[in-house]
Symmetry: C2
Subunit: 318 residues, 2 copies
């Protein structure tokens, strides 16, 4: 019997927690994670990859469990000193342990290594138990056009919108700058082609999964496989984060049904919704098999059961 | 009466401590410090300027008083994390507070600012009470040729020789790589020309003062002024550091007399030696006025008295 091959597309916290459940549900599987790099940002001359790091720290045992991102036992001496020099931004929480990751990454990138090789090198330390590949080695950055009461309509980096303004400025539009010309990182398309199933964790459908799918070639490769997604929306609200602000920006209603329809039957084969959305399962979404079950990733066992259900549905549909 | 203008050339710890005494002795003077950058090094993709920082931290109240370099209250989280990634060197002690300085510096350098502008920006925070200018904006790095028992004869960075081997590998030769093509940083020659006196603190005559003088134009400008030096050698040993290893490498005896003769009467007008070297003062050094007095910078008052004596001798000789 062959070892099951699973590909997941993943953003940050939600994706990382789902992956922890998936590893628990299917410890023998060969899991490849295609990580979102659209919210990468250069700060203080260092390249920061928040989603890749959240996956790496979470699966490698280094995550701050309470906040879901950043390192456990973190301190903020470097950031405080930078602010003493008048060097910000102050709104992005880089800790001392985290700084080391960005220093290593930046040094390798400047030496000419592609991000995929850098990520593999960092994972040599963390041993996340999955193969973590950035969606692309090219620079793709999500920018958000906002109507800023002070500065008028302008585009700001996703992180500035998300972290500094807490997505409180309504987004006029969201763009993955550079995505059109990006190529999937080495191994991405091969992993998808060889996969028995592709899973979408309850990551942000716009700025995480949507950005990964915006890299030319990835959507087509994924669409050719059995794809099961886990709804990031329960009732009319995101399980966590501010996905509603992103959905509104692209004209999609914040509901489990609307997100499934947004992905579409051409991409998605199965869709898990929460029991609160049993009505969606009852009426269905055109061409997509919808099942309802508890979706709160409240503890490792609950999360593993969600992952198990996604795999079972994929097995049924393939 | 015009405000006294003083220029000092300075290395790290000895220079910084002397400067603190000079500020105490002559608080109204306009003091320009020409800092050695020959022991600058790039580590982890960051530009580190140990001597400039030691002067800045010491005069700005941020120095670790016990060790004489690095920040007070320092922690080493970033370094430990870098080592956890397998990224060294482990022998260079960069603390978290210090890292912030190098991050700001590197970011400004990469944005195109010359080191002199970067240094001025960093000093905006520290307010050292002197004008601190790097000897040059060009890259000059001191390298040391050693006979390495493991790797044969090879050139290593000064810091590797000084910090990693504690200067235990005998130096075959010492070179300030890049000095020949370097230009004095903006303001250096002007400050020397306008100076009432140029002082050499008890810094290393080879790899600190010697390196500064190796930048074309600086030696000639300094030689035209009244120059008084403070011997870094008492008896037959350096007051601190391993200046003897450097002097041996260039064929100069480790003695107050030999160092004065090495600078030469063409450069030096006055020379302060310790009471232990009263014989040098008694017999004199050709063309140089030598005075003996206590030279141990044991506390701020003692250091201020040394600086006062150097200024008085300069006044007498000008």
């Amino acid at each position: 019997m062959h070892c099951m091959k699973i590909v997941t597309l993943a953003g940050g916290i939600g994706g990382a927690r789902f992956l922890r459940g998936l590893l628990r549900a299917e410890p023998e599987a060969e899991i490849t994670v295609i990580g979102n790099t659209g919210d990468d940002i250069s700060l203080f001359g260092l390249r920061v990859c928040p989603d890749l790091d959240t996956v790496m720290y979470t699966l490698g045992g280094g995550i701050n469990e309470e906040q879901g991102w950043g390192r456990a036992g973190e301190t903020f001496t470097v950031k405080e000193e930078l602010l003493a020099y008048g060097v910000g931004p102050s709104w992005f929480g880089l800790g001392d342990r985290d700084f080391a990751t960005h220093i290593v990454r930046t040094q390798m990138l400047e030496a000419g290594y592609p991000l995929s090789a850098v990520t593999a090198a960092l994972c040599d330390r963390w041993k996340p138990g999955v193969r973590l590949i950035p969606m692309t080695d090219d620079q793709v950055e999500t920018h958000v056009v906002v109507d800023d009461p002070e500065h008028g309509r302008r585009a700001i980096h996703f992180q500035e919108w998300w972290v500094r303004t807490r997505a409180a400025l309504p987004a006029v539009s969201i763009a993955a700058v550079g995505a059109d010309d990006a190529k999937p990182a080495p191994g991405v398309l091969e992993a998808v082609e060889e996969a028995d199933a592709v899973l979408f964790p309850p990551s942000n459908p716009v700025v995480s999964i949507g950005t990964i799918l915006a890299v030319p070639g990835i959507r087509e490769a994924v669409a050719a496989k059995t794809v099961v997604g886990v709804s990031p929306i329960i009732g009319d609200a995101p399980v966590r984060g501010m996905a509603d602000a992103c959905l509104t920006a692209i004209g999609v209603e914040t509901s489990a049904r609307a997100v499934a329809a947004h992905y579409g039957a051409g991409l998605l084969d199965g869709w898990l919704v929460d029991e609160a959305d049993a009505a969606v399962a009852a009426t269905g979404v055109d061409g997509i098999e919808v099942r309802s079950r508890p979706l709160l990733m409240s503890d490792p066992d609950a999360t593993a059961a969600i992952a198990r259900a996604a795999l079972d549905l994929a097995g049924e549909l393939s």
